[in-house]
């Protein structure tokens, strides 16, 4: 159970400000784990070329998810439909996202079906749209893309590109009641290895465990400790605590179903000011007007005492926070990747610069 709570805490942090409330996902997983005991997690490096995997996710509004709960049975129906289209059975599940509620749902489905889960995903964090995956970026076909509702009605989308799938799918999702279970990006073991962001399920567990252990030990600053952890993650990543301060102003609005806005934080002991903008997820951080982190690199805003994630929806004046920047993996930072998940996708004009190449206080 410690493992489960660590994982949930980690997925909330990897939600990078978005991804919905993990509460319902945790309960679903608890319920399934009570029945099946455990889930097999396999390292992408260890999977055979001819393994056949499918990514599953829940599409729609988190406000709806808390009433009309995600439905693993409907997800299985969507998977079966893809199998029927392709004439081949799946023997593994791969998560679409590493953060938010969609990091949990694939584990629930895997537990129900007795299938292993591949330790990796298509985003390395949370993103809002189906085309924003490394699977798509490196040429895995999103179609056949099957959506299922609670009645196990299915809709099959065969499109020429993933962005169009996203647009058409989103419209169907509204008609399905604001929530749909999706199976997409069927791929072989070789394709998984070539395209996924590796070891992000265990990364979530490690992040959650690191925070818990630092909290119990009570010796070291939790956020500094978490940033230090990334030096030893697999693969190791550049990470820094970018800011330590207090939330001063939060501006929120919406734009075609996106929660957009920004937050300004002030430092307790200097005149420094950090500005973070978000489009569902945190996308850009500027320290005194200078960019210090930009999407797809990861931004965590954490409670400075507990290390728990604070989402864009729960940001409030007065919160004492620390902001951590974490380098995205190489899969997420290639030229091709930046086209799909870089600043432009979040409507940011400036170009992507690696976190480690950006200057901030105290360094460079």
């Amino acid at each position: 159970m410690d493992n489960l709570h660590d994982f949930i805490r980690g997925t909330a942090i990897l939600g990078t400000g978005g991804g919905g409330d993990p509460y319902v996902g945790r309960l679903m997983l608890e319920q399934e784990l009570r029945k099946c005991g455990g889930i097999d997690l396999i390292n992408p490096e260890d999977i055979p070329d001819d393994m056949f995997a499918i990514s599953v996710a829940c599409m729609g509004a988190p406000t709806v998810f808390v009433e009309k709960l995600p439905n693993a049975q409907a997800t299985i129906t969507a998977m079966r439909k893809v199998e029927k289209e392709l004439g081949r059975k799946f023997n593994a599940i791969i998560p679409l996202e590493a953060g938010g509620i969609n990091a949990t749902l694939p584990l629930v489905v895997a537990a129900q079906m007795g299938l292993p889960v591949i330790d990796g995903d298509g985003m390395g964090r949370a993103f809002p749209e189906f085309q924003m995956t490394t699977f798509n970026i490196y040429g895995v076909n999103c179609s056949p893309f099957v959506m299922a509702d609670d009645f196990e009605n299915t809709i099959l989308l065969e499109t020429d590109n993933a962005l169009r799938t996203e647009v058409y799918g989103r419209a169907v999702c509204v008609k399905m009641g604001g929530i749909a279970q999706v199976a997409s990006y069927a791929m072989t073991g070789a394709e998984v290895r070539r395209t996924c962001v590796p070891r992000t399920v265990s990364l979530a567990v490690d992040i959650g465990r690191t925070v818990r252990e630092l909290r119990v030990a009570g010796k070291e600053d939790i956020c500094e400790g978490l940033a230090n952890y990334f030096a030893t993650s697999d693969p190791p990543r550049f990470a820094r605590v970018i800011f330590d301060g207090k939330v001063q102003d939060v501006i929120r609005g919406t734009d075609e179903g996106w929660t957009v806005g920004s937050v300004t934080m002030s430092s307790g002991d200097s005149d420094d000011e950090l500005f973070v903008s978000f489009r569902n997820e945190y996308s850009l951080a500027k320290l005194n007007g200078k960019t210090v982190a930009i999407v797809p690199d990861l931004l965590f805003i954490l409670d400075r005492e507990t290390g728990e994630a604070i989402t864009a929806e729960t940001l409030r004046y007065g919160q004492r926070v620390k902001v951590i920047g974490v380098a995205a993996t190489e899969e997420m930072r290639s030229e091709k990747a930046i086209e799909v998940i870089g600043p432009k996708a979040s409507k940011i004009v400036e170009p992507f610069v690696r976190l480690e190449d950006l200057a901030w206080n105290g360094e460079q």
Binding site: V64, V66, L69, Y317
Partner: protein, 519 residues
């Protein structure tokens, strides 16, 4: 005249109010049977004021009995749940999260039936009434007499829950039914959890409300009485008997409402400084700001209307230490042993109270027992105490800019200087009975929490509809139409859904119809 009573774990306080004037007040011990403590407290204020019971037009009672019973897992009854939502919601069964010590008493009996709504109000499925009948018969066979009915998006439309309740009443004559839509907001599991908590208190609520009722009878008071809810509004005794869970966390709400009244401040910050902790909350238009995050009660998550109160380890008994890094204050406290442990009372532990005495601004105990303290250490401790309050006040503030700070509670003697971020520091008299005053002043409220389509209805019409709904609810809960107005509107567009769907939470508040007639 009306009476406010606060039945706490330790004390039962009562105040007699004439309009908004406090005529008499008393603090007396809570008794094991609850009732005799209330009788004693009310008798005392009637006697000291010389007021005749026939002049009392209403009695408002705040109580922590139900919260305590649930958290301690005492006096709970078995509960069954019928949820309308199939084919949706199988993923999380009712009571999944309830800890064993609770399910030992309330069980895990639940039934899922076809029904429920989508976010836009359309039916997921028609309610499977035959399945409800079968569930009811099974519940009857199992001799469970308290039942929860819940369903997907029932805060948007409660007809399915109402129909399920009707069926239960037909099948099981003496059944108690808790409708989730009467209790909670959007968030099926949290709302259902709260309804289960409520149902588990069925026997206790009958006993407690009966104790209130017979106490008033004994006093020859025959006017209606009300119970205060966690959002600072009232419910009738009949409604409270059905929905005791709505009293959870009404204590801090009443204390803040009382502080608002005593100080005359409607927008500001209340710091309730006790022996061990300081509870700091924000007043908005005379009501406590509600918590934005979910609240766990007895380790079960709910989506109650809890006041957003930040508790920090600063109180009159907080222990003061000289360390290498400087002087520290708390968070540990000598708590109930203040009167024997603190230096000024002859003890050997240095507490914040000793510091306030040594610094010369509090006059408690024996000053000479702290005269040996190093003045620079005392100064540092006074600084630390004020800084702790300042940081806490700053954390709860909802925007920049100075606001009034109201100090209540016995520990408020610790504060002597201006507070950074405070436009003024107010220390009202009678702050010891702020809870009872808060209960006595409570108004009647109504709330709407629904999802509207701005695409179909437009923003203005949607907001108008929600406002009207909230006002109607307040009026049907007993508010006078003339005094009822909307006090808050929250607008939350549904993220990741380009459907123009927006969740609106609107709250309306009004005076009790009865009271207005008298003023």
């Amino acid at each position: 005249m009306h009476i406010g009573v606060d039945v706490g774990g330790t004390n039962t306080d009562a105040v007699l109010l004439d309009g908004t004037r406090v005529v008499a007040s008393v603090k007396s011990p809570t008794t094991h049977d609850v009732g005799s403590g209330i009788v004693a407290a009310i008798s005392s204020i009637m006697k000291s004021s010389g007021c005749a019971v026939s002049n009392v037009s209403s009695v408002m009672i705040g109580t922590t009995q139900f919260t305590n019973a649930f958290v301690e897992g005492k006096k709970l009854v078995p509960v069954a749940v019928i949820r309308a939502g199939l084919p949706a919601t199988r993923g999380v069964m009712p009571m999944t999260e309830f800890p064993n010590h609770l399910t030992k008493q309330i069980g895990r009996q639940s039934y899922l039936v076809e029904g429920g709504y989508d976010f836009d109000g359309s039916e997921i499925n028609r309610l499977d009434e035959r399945a409800v009948v079968r569930a009811a018969q099974d519940i009857k066979k199992r001799c469970i007499s308290s039942v929860v009915v819940s369903g997907v998006f029932t805060p948007i439309n409660d007809s399915m829950e109402t129909r399920m309740a009707e069926i239960l009443y037909e099948e099981i004559p003496d059944v108690e039914v808790s409708l989730s839509s009467e209790i909670g907001r959007i968030g099926l599991i949290e709302r259902e959890n709260a309804a289960i908590m409520n149902a588990s208190l069925a026997d206790l609520s009958t006993a407690v409300i009966e104790a209130f009722r017979s106490a008033l009878n004994k006093l020859d008071i025959h006017c209606p009485f009300f119970v205060s809810q966690n959002d600072g509004t009232l419910m009738t005794s009949e409604f409270a008997e059905k929905y005791p869970v709505l009293t959870f966390a009404s204590g801090p709400t009443n204390s803040m409402r009382g502080a608002a009244f005593l100080s005359g401040v409607k927008n500001g910050i209340v710091a309730d400084i006790g022996g061990t902790t300081t509870d700091v909350g924000v007043l908005i238009d005379g009501f406590p700001r509600e918590s934005a995050i979910s609240v766990d009660v007895g380790s079960v998550r709910t989506n109650f209307r809890m006041p957003d109160v930040l508790a920090v380890g600063l109180g009159g008994g907080s222990i003061v230490r000289q360390t290498e890094a400087g002087v520290t204050v708390g968070p540990d406290s000598v708590a109930l042993d203040l009167l024997s442990e603190a230096r000024v009372f002859g003890g050997s532990t240095l507490t914040t109270t000793d510091i306030a005495v040594a610094a010369g601004y509090a006059n408690i105990g024996t000053h000479s027992r702290v005269s040996d303290l190093d003045p620079s250490m005392v100064e540092a401790a006074v600084d630390a105490i004020h800084r702790r309050l300042e940081t806490t006040v700053d954390r709860v503030k909802s925007s920049r800019g100075d606001v009034p700070v109201i100090l209540v509670g016995g520990g408020s003697v610790l504060i002597d200087r201006d507070i950074k971020g405070a436009s003024e520091v107010i220390r009202p008299e009678l702050s010891g009975v702020a809870n009872a005053i808060g209960a006595g002043l409570a108004q009647v409220g109504g709330e709407i929490d629904k999802i509207y389509s701005y695409n179909d209805l437009g923003r203005e019409a949607s907001i108008e509809q929600a406002k009207e709904g909230a006002i109607n609810r307040a009026v049907s809960a007993g508010a006078s139409a003339a005094s009822t107005s909307v006090v808050s509107i929250e607008e939350m567009p549904l993220a990741y859904l380009p459907a123009g769907a927006v969740r609106l939470k609107v709250k309306a508040i009004g005076n009790l119809d009865k009271m207005e007639a008298l003023q």
